[in-house]
């Protein structure tokens, strides 16, 4: 706590697009009120004031892809009472974890004329692979409603109430016609965390897993189901190797599919 009794909050960015921390600033109606309830000690995008730790809550966006960022997450953990990760990159390695399946040296050669200037780890990994994470908010991007719920809960000392069901359930509740059953469109909805409001099926397309796999996800069974709807293996692989593809449940399902295909 700060001297004025307000919780001290810090917002950090690793390899990411900025979109999850932008969701904090996208709380247009609540932002000034939140800023009155807590002390925002470190949030480079929003303010020039920088106050050293320890922090009560550290919010981390982005995945670990460099030695420097690896040092940073360890340092943040040491200085913070509670670490909350924001979004697909911080929780699963993000879209840049596609490098994990490839030769990174070849990747940097493909983009940079002088690859020797580039220092990057061979893998993009979630924060929890390196330090203890107290709470993870899912999404690519996170939902600002979930963010608000988690912050509010933490501040008043209760457990956050986040949906424990899949996108599939959200579709049923909204009355969205199943894109897989009705149109044969590949969809990760049955195995993906709810939170987006089942957006993609409402836009006539399949879920591509922004909120990451459910803990109880049976991705392999889903793939068998997709196959009966005529979805090709390559399409399933593309879907699984997506924005949260490095998450264990999606990764192992993809690996098994790869084995079957070869």
């Amino acid at each position: 706590m700060s001297a004025n009794g307000k919780p001290r909050i810090a917002v950090f960015k690793l390899a990411s697009c900025d979109g999850c921390q932008l969701q904090i600033l996208n709380l247009e109606d609540e932002l000034l009120a939140i800023a009155g309830q807590v002390e925002i000690c470190y949030f480079l995008e929003a303010r020039s004031q920088i106050l050293d730790g320890p922090y009560d809550i550290a919010l981390i966006e982005g995945s670990v892809t460099t030695e420097h960022d690896l040092e940073r997450v360890r340092d943040i953990r040491r200085r913070s009472q509670m670490v909350i990760t924001l979004g697909a990159c911080a929780n699963t390695g993000g879209i840049q974890a596609l490098r994990n399946l490839q030769d990174v040296d070849e990747y940097t050669r493909a983009i940079y004329a002088n690859p020797s200037y580039i220092h990057t780890l061979s893998q993009s990994t979630p924060v929890a692979a390196h330090v203890t994470v107290d709470f993870a908010i899912n999404g690519c991007p996170i939902s600002k409603e979930q963010l608000l719920e988690v912050l509010t809960s933490v501040l008043i000392g209760r457990a956050p109430q986040l949906p424990a069901h899949a996108v599939c359930v959200e579709c049923k509740r909204k009355g969205t016609v199943c894109v897989l059953v009705a149109k044969g469109i590949a969809c990760l909805g049955p195995v993906t965390h709810a939170g987006c409001g089942a957006l993609c099926p409402a836009f006539n397309r399949g879920c591509f897993g922004c909120y990451g796999p459910m803990e109880s996800a049976h991705s392999e069974s889903l793939c068998q189901g997709l196959a009966t709807h005529g979805i090709s293996r390559s399409e399933m692989l593309q879907l699984l190797n997506g924005f949260t593809g490095w998450a264990e449940e999606f990764r192992s399902a993809a690996e098994k599919l790869e084995k079957v295909s070869t």
């Binding site: 960015k13 690793l14 390899a15 990411s16 697009c17 900025d18 979109g19 999850c20 921390q21 932008l22 600033l25 996208n26 247009e28 109606d29 932002l31 000034l32 800023a35 925002i40 480079l44 995008e45 929003a46 303010r47 020039s48 004031q49 920088i50 982005g62 892809t65 460099t66 960022d69 993000g94 879209i95 840049q96 490098r99 490839q102 990174v104 070849e106 990747y107 940097t108 493909a110 983009i111 940079y112 004329a113 002088n114 200037y117 580039i118 990057t120 690519c140 991007p141 987006c196 409001g197 957006l199 993609c200 409402a202 836009f203 006539n204 397309r205 591509f208 922004c210 593309q238 997506g242």
Partner: protein, 434 residues
């Protein structure tokens, strides 16, 4: 201060109130400026590499993730590049809806930059959170404008960060006319607020500064260019987008994980973004924006980078005016997306992201699989220009304290609204004096 004949290093760990993280390195020897560099060490995310092997259908969803602040810009440049390769011409209705989506993103991004990132500088405050305690109505106006921009994107794309509706050929789904019309009173309010914004920005005392900029932007004969046009410059350049790579060259320097873009023939810097656009396309602004630009006390073309904030305000007016026009004229595109079939090809496109020209190029095989990708964001194009500006600023302020120098540099850099995440990367301000 340390005596001038000693090596001196000033470091600002990270610039603040910019998108993404990053620094500057300033070298001074014998009291005079030796060199200044934008240091970008943020982790490279290697988009161009992992796009290879992905289906062109996935490209707009993947490229959106380059930047949470301008995802629609990356979606627009990428789908239009692919459409060029496949010979797809979107219907006028699809074209209009894309322009509306883009206007929403300009409003959201420009309001964010003006009110949350840059305006505190003019009040000598460290953030909009602090400014909000002194002038809550001012900050609330900015937040509300930003929110309306986000509402436009959300109605078209489901959410404002990484919207899900854009696809090659058009949209996965388009809104009904009555849904769009519901936005009208909100955008009418935003138009008024944006005009107030320009008046407010015109009242700010802008630091004196002038540089010899080559302004570069898209230009279109019938509208304020956003989604298409020829690439023109204040030095007389006028080329089709397909010639971009002949005229602009990407360089890779040791101090940066972002590539820097320069004019190929002479290695010189150039300026992209709101100031460049207003300078080049003033006559194409719609009436209210044109009037706001002409009455704000700035003579256009203007080569003071601090006037960029006013240009950004004028562009919010433009985007609100255009949004209203597009909403009122809206006809649901049928079909929502043009049909197409895969064939091998290569295509490029440039659009005007909030921060300036955004170029994408893709080569794909006959299965619709990406073989190569090239992405040149506006911030990469402005890095060299930022360094040139700092070279002009620094000699006159080297007698100041480290903190004052760093503060002045940060304020100058903020004019560019740099998006380091877009350039895929973090800045550190480091100063060496020897």
């Amino acid at each position: 201060m340390i005596a001038t004949n000693e090596t001196r290093t000033i470091r600002l760990e990270s610039m603040t109130r910019v998108e993404g993280e990053g620094g500057l390195r300033i070298e001074v020897r014998d009291g005079s400026l030796r060199d200044v560099k934008v240091d970008v060490f943020e982790a490279p995310r290697l988009f161009e590499a992992f796009l290879r092997g992905r289906s062109i259908r996935e490209v707009p969803d993947i490229t959106a993730r380059i930047c949470g602040i301008c995802p629609a810009a990356h979606q627009m440049s990428s789908v239009q590049a692919i459409e060029t390769a496949l010979g797809i011409t979107p219907s006028p209705e699809i074209r209009a809806l894309r322009r509306l989506l883009y206007c929403g993103e300009w409003i959201e991004s420009h309001a964010l930059h003006i009110y949350l990132l840059q305006v505190p500088d003019f009040f000598g405050l460290e953030s909009a959170l602090t400014l909000g305690k002194e002038q809550p109505e001012l900050v609330r106006q900015g937040l509300e404008l930003k929110k309306i921009g986000n509402e436009i994107i959300t109605i078209l794309g489901g959410r404002s960060v990484h919207p899900v509706s854009v696809c090659v050929g058009g949209f996965w789904k388009v809104p009904r006319r009555h849904e769009l019309l519901e936005l009208r009173p909100r955008v009418e309010w935003a138009l008024k607020a944006s005009l107030d914004t320009v008046k407010f920005l015109a009242s700010l005392k802008l630091p004196a500064f002038s540089a010899d900029y080559e302004c570069v932007a898209l230009s279109h004969p019938r509208e304020y260019a956003i989604n298409e046009g020829a690439i023109v410059s204040s030095a007389g350049l006028n080329i089709p987008v397909r010639d971009f790579e002949q005229v602009f060259l990407e360089e890779h320097l040791a101090h940066s994980t972002a590539l820097h873009t320069v004019r190929a023939e002479r290695g010189s810097s150039y300026l992209v973004g709101p100031l460049a656009r207003v300078n080049l396309n003033l006559s194409h602004l719609p009436p209210a924006a044109r009037q706001a630009a002409e009455e704000c006390g700035i003579t256009w073309p203007c080569f003071n980078p601090y006037a960029g904030i006013v240009a950004r305000g004028v562009e919010i007016v433009m985007a609100c005016e255009e949004s209203l026009r597009l909403i009122e004229a809206y006809r649901e595109p049928v079909p929502a997306a043009m049909e197409y079939s895969f064939h091998a090809g290569d295509g490029c496109a440039a659009t005007e992201a909030p921060r300036g020209l955004l170029y994408h190029r893709y080569r794909m095989n006959d299965q619709g699989i990406v073989q190569s990708a090239r992405i040149v964001p506006p911030t990469c194009q402005n890095y060299r220009r930022i360094e040139d500006d700092l070279r002009l600023l620094l000699p006159g302020i080297l007698d100041r304290t480290d903190a004052e120098i760093v503060d002045a540099c940060e304020k100058l850099v903020r004019n560019y609204d740099p998006c380091i995440s877009c350039s895929t990367h973090a800045i550190k301000i480091q100063m060496n004096r020897s």
